[in-house]
């Protein structure tokens, strides 16, 4: 079971129960942290109370670190979770308007709901305001539509934008957060007239937690993601080891499976695009070896009711591809073609060029017959549209 659990493991009704439960937990912690007081929230901007910064950054760093760890252990597929898309202009404009709303209103939407729930009347009006604001936006939407989608950078990751590795960025963020905690404690004490020195930073019982956080953050730098780990594991395997893990089939068997249609097979050509275009096994799809580890193929290669057959230039490339698919957790049964594409070509596709007397008559007959049927399959598969390779992402939206 690989996360996210929705929509494959959890249906929409249970998902709503989850919504209620995480909402309750969210609201409870926000209130316990003191986010139900606009005076405390606004303190961030005047230096008398940095509670927002502490809670906010700790939460973001915790969740981020957790996601990296879960992806490392392969229990979450980061390729499937919702990545907030980046639209430069609307992010900046929206952020600026929200910033103004924050300093004037003293809340943000989540905290205002939580504060309204304990009887803060200013929060109640803030909630009404947010609703009114959404209505205003709905009415001006036709006029500002263009701004919303301008400057689209897609699912841009912040570490890619900065040219860092994911782990290094995570470390920098945690280090930055802890530095900010120390400095803001100093500012807070000065503003509130307490004796202040940089050493007066007192995280209390959380000292151990912060130390622990730093160690984990440091470890993140050296933590490869599942993909690069799979490739490393694979590079350490020799052909003998691969053969003991992956079952191979020969060209006759592949032809048999292709024409008999007794089992649902999925033939994957892992050679480069150029080779694939020149000639291929009828009905095969091209996923070059270099892109095989990409997240977009996982669903396509994970169908349990289907058998994947990999072939490449030679047996070894096919074995490696099948093994990589296995390491990455694809659920389909995987086979590798012995002999590479050239063997299939000489054995089946070019049977007409073969001297019939050199092979047993029944084999020759089968191959001749297969050749004809495969030509039909090729004609049919050419007419079919290409398979959709992108899997559906979780759609989001606040």
């Amino acid at each position: 079971m690989i996360s996210p659990l929705v929509p494959n493991f959890i249906n929409s009704e249970i998902s709503l129960v989850v919504a209620l439960i995480v909402g309750i937990a969210f609201g409870f912690i926000l209130e316990q942290a003191g986010f139900s007081s606009s005076k405390r929230l606004a303190g961030l901007f005047y230096g008398y109370d940095f509670v927002v910064l502490r809670v906010f950054f700790t939460a973001a760093a915790t969740a981020m670190t957790g996601l990296i760890l879960l992806s490392y252990f392969g229990v979450i597929n980061l390729g499937l979770i919702y990545i907030n898309p980046t639209f430069i202009y609307s992010a900046l404009i929206g952020g600026a308007i929200m910033g103004a709303g924050f300093i004037i209103g003293g809340f943000c939407p989540g905290t205002s709901v939580c504060a309204a729930a304990i009887g803060k009347l200013d929060a109640l009006l803030f909630v009404a305001g947010v609703t009114f604001g959404a209505l205003i936006f709905g009415e001006i939407y036709p006029f500002i539509k263009e701004i919303l989608t301008a400057g689209s950078l897609g699912d841009l990751m912040v570490y890619d934008a900065l040219g860092m590795s994911r782990g290094f960025f995570a470390f920098v963020l945690v280090a930055f957060a802890i530095t900010a905690f120390v400095i803001t404690s100093y500012i807070e004490n000065r503003v509130n007239g307490k004796a202040a020195s940089l050493l007066s930073f007192k995280p209390g019982k959380s000292k151990a937690i912060i130390g622990f956080a730093l160690i984990i953050a440091f470890a993140l730098i050296f933590m490869p993601d599942k993909k690069s780990r799979a490739l490393t594991n694979l590079s350490e395997m020799n052909p003998e080891m691969l053969k003991s893990e992956i079952e191979m089939i020969d060209s006759d068997e592949l032809a048999m499976w292709l024409i008999s249609e007794c089992r649902d097979i999925h033939v994957i050509d892992v050679r480069n695009e150029e080779n694939f275009k020149r000639n291929n096994v009828p009905g095969a799809v091209n996923i070059p070896f270099n892109s095989l580890s990409e997240a977009e193929w996982r669903t396509e290669l994970s169908k349990t009711d289907r058998t994947n057959i990999f072939y490449g230039i030679d047996s070894e490339e096919a074995l490696k591809a099948a093994m990589l698919s296995k390491i990455l957790g694809d659920n389909s049964e995987a086979y590798a073609l012995n002999g590479g594409f050239d063997d299939f070509k000489t054995t089946i596709l070019d049977i007409a060029l073969v001297d019939a007397s050199k092979i047993p008559a029944d084999k020759y007959k089968f191959r001749k017959n297969a050749n004809v049927k495969l030509a039909e399959i090729r004609k049919n598969s050419a007419a079919k549209p290409k398979p959709k390779k992108k899997e559906q992402k979780i759609s989001g939206g606040c």
Binding site: P4, V6, S15, L16, V18, A19, V22, I24, F26, G27, F28, Q32, A33, S36, R54, F56, T58, A59, L80, I81, Y82, I83, N84, S90, G95, A96, I97, M98, G99, A100, G101, F102, I103, G105, G106, F107, P109, T111, A117, I118, G119, L125, F126, G129, V130, A134, G138, Y141, P142, L156, M157, V158, D160, R166, F169, P203, S206, I209, G397, C398
Partner: protein, 171 residues
């Protein structure tokens, strides 16, 4: 009634981060808040002016992608949960009661008007930013989206830039 002290902010942050992590683990996306208000607006418009809601892209698109209205809307249910959770926490820590938090130099009326105005701005901004502090900034940062960081910096940067102008309201 003595108010119980607030939780240690770092502990609260870790707990909040874990809740966010569990949410992403289960649903594949983070927490949110302003989406609930949007859902209510779209519902209200669909009832009050069904023709307008059907013709305007903002409403029709949302209705198409969120069938069943607010009661089946993940974010709406989540925010109902936030209210329940906040109430339970206030109950537990003796913080329930009608109250208006404001700076010493302004009156209640000014504070309430400012709260509504600020909320309206936040409501508009959250639609531009495709989420508010929870949905765009916090959840966006957790999944390391560049947009999440950009939105976060724009929110807090503008807050600081305008802090001096609105200082009378808070200090």
């Amino acid at each position: 009634m003595e108010n119980t002290k607030y939780m240690n902010p770092y502990l609260a942050g870790v707990l909040l981060g874990l809740i966010l992590l569990v949410t992403i683990f289960i649903t594949g996306r983070g927490l949110g808040a302003s989406g609930a208000m949007k859902s209510v607006v779209v519902d209200a418009m669909t009832v009050v002016a069904p023709e307008h809601a059907a013709n305007s892209e903002f409403y029709s698109k949302y209705n198409a992608s969120h069938p069943g209205g607010s009661v089946k809307n993940w974010l709406f249910i989540e925010v109902i949960g936030v209210a329940i959770g906040g109430f339970l926490s206030g109950l537990l820590s003796n913080r329930l009661g009608f109250k208006i938090d404001r700076g010493a130099r302004i009156g209640n009326k000014t504070r309430l008007i400012a709260a509504f105005a600020g909320g309206s701005l936040f409501g508009i901004g959250a639609q531009f930013g495709r989420g508010c502090t929870s949905g765009a900034a916090l959840s966006g940062m957790a999944v390391m989206s560049a947009g999440g960081f950009l939105t976060m910096m724009a929110i807090f940067g503008t807050g600081y830039a305008l802090a001096f102008i609105f200082r009378k309201m808070w200090i």
